[in-house]
Point group: C2
Chain length 80, copies 2
Amino acid sequence: MRARVHVTLKSGVLDPQGKAIQHALEALGFGGVDAVRQGKVIEIDLAETDAGKARVVVEDMCRQLLANTVIENYAVEIAD
Amino acid sequence: MRARVHVTLKSGVLDPQGKAIQHALEALGFGGVDAVRQGKVIEIDLAETDAGKARVVVEDMCRQLLANTVIENYAVEIAD
């Protein structure tokens, strides 16, 4: 079973990587870019075969390791 | 219009960040983790209102800046 976790900065937290990308896109001539935010995506292959149990385990992983919940949000998707 | 770009390492390319996460999860006592891969997610707010045109522009951004197509794959999602 595969889980995909998105870790993104909370709104209001400064995102210098996103700003750098936005400026680089403008320098390359791409207009109409209002905002850019960068986050992480983590794909985890699990031995667990029950989707509900897998989600509980992965949310625990997010809180303990994958996300800094002071400044980051996380979202878990369980794929087959 | 918002675009979300996933940039992930091609299969076969070594992913030391993913390996580090896998080992850290094991050290925390999470069993049954077969593999971990880490990638980037980039959210772009565009002034463009046509989904088709937005996709073309964002794919161009991926090729020019967001992804290193030698070692990385990209996937573009256009949300409303």
